[in-house]
Assembly symmetry: C2
Homo-oligomer: 271 residues x 2
């Protein structure tokens, strides 16, 4: 999936590119701020909600647009960041000759954009993006395109600010997204559940922070399967039973505890 080097673009095209962003949510906000760090211009932000669109346009030093018919035809790149099911509707309103048009969705094929330009593709950020966070995290970018020109264009564009740029087709992108749900969304959910449990028991959630940090820190250099700890991998049924007893008034958390303990036991094939 490494990007294969191809012909180079003229400097005039690649410097100070003009970008239009459709959408005003988390992806538009964080990706927009990240793009500015690379030196390109965001000339318009197009969104349905006037207030939110104006707020983001202000942050990105761009023109706010709520009428999609007023989208500039002079941009080099159009990035559709709206929710999966709305991408198609917006695509049907946009028609360009050579400008590159992309969406940012993991689970939507690039083909949905095939009637919007000769050059279309995907710019997928493998990161959890929340606009309220002031620190923008490092963003690995996965690109796809219907031709080499689009792939090279997107590579040159994204490498200005992305921590890495690689190619992933529709199938690989969906697999990457699934992996991200497991390692990111589900992990965050476990922490949310833990925080709620701590509140109920009057324990400070933040006291768990050294443990959480250690759990993550060590998978940088170790396979997580090689450093699993806890009662399930030790086959310590007595402790698991005591934990389930604490949860007797909380059926959903008890079920989750049992499910994941069994999953660990199955994973390491303990009987």
């Amino acid at each position: 999936m490494e990007f294969r080097k191809g012909k180079q673009f003229s400097i005039s095209l690649l410097q100070n590119m003009n970008v239009v962003i459709a959408g005003s949510g988390n992806v538009a906000n964080v990706l927009g701020r990240k793009i500015l760090t690379g030196g390109d211009n965001i000339i318009q932000v197009a969104g349905r909600n006037k207030e939110v669109t104006e707020e983001l346009a202000n942050i990105l030093n761009a023109e706010p647009i709520t009428d999609f018919a007023r989208i500039s035809e002079k941009a080099d790149l159009y990035i559709i960041t709206v929710t999966d099911t709305a991408i198609n509707e917006i695509a049907t309103q946009l028609h360009f000759e050579n400008a590159v048009i992309v969406h940012t969705a993991a689970a939507v094929s690039k083909v949905v954009l095939k009637n919007s330009s000769f050059n279309y593709g995907v710019l997928y950020p493998l990161q959890s993006l929340r606009k309220e966070l002031t620190t923008i995290p490092p963003i690995p970018i996965y690109i796809d395109g219907n031709n080499n020109y689009t792939l090279e264009f997107l590579h040159e564009f994204a490498k200005k600010w992305a921590i890495s740029v690689a190619v992933a087709n529709d199938e690989k992108r969906l697999q990457l997204h699934l992996a991200a749900v497991l390692a990111g969304n589900f992990t965050n959910h476990l922490l949310a559940i833990t925080e709620k449990f701590c509140k109920e028991k009057e324990l400070e959630f933040k006291l768990l922070y050294p443990l959480i940090e250690e759990t993550i820190r060590r998978v940088e250099n170790n396979s997580p399967a090689a450093v699993q700890t806890g009662p399930a991998i030790r086959n310590n049924w007595e402790t698991m039973q005591k934990h389930e007893e604490i949860l007797y008034t909380n059926k959903s958390l008890k079920d989750l505890y049992t499910f994941l303990s069994k999953s660990i036991i199955e994973f390491y094939k303990l009987k």
Copy 2:
């Protein structure tokens, strides 16, 4: 659960304490190395397996013992780090007058030590400890004791090297342990599952590291429930269905995906 200040110990007692560790596993190894950083001495390591015990004793500059009858009577503190079910057996072999004796188990009552000394308690590390890791993580310590002397003794002892020391009785310790299983062991298991999925699909697991790091980094200053992302919280059934289709040959991972997606939906009460 904050430690209440009481009478101070004489300096002679608190400096250069002599410690005996029973057990030679992960807790003995990591806690032992941590204790040395506080300036106290580990005079003996007692374990069943001669080779492992000698190896750890060598690391801790202590005498290796495989016959528990040869445990020194001159130590100030005895720490039993063996597996939960073996604590009682070792406790019955140990009898002291005033030396403090503790175990390190979350799910075992301190009462199991009541016949081993007038001063007994627990020294529970709220951290995931694996002896093969060269970097020792910060360790929050929870202490319990049958009297104020033991509590104060353990507080003075642990504060030399622990990131924090607080009191937790049997009930609180079990709750903390359950929270640690949710946020630590289960999180690590999700990462192990993700790594396995990546291998199967020929994706590099390490490419997810920026996402994993961001997931953890932001809960330092945000409630995880306030920064949840992903298809489940967006109620994006189409994407969840596509993910489940990828997993059609992997029933256990598919079941886990479905279970945790439903758990997220339920948690945020989306219908």
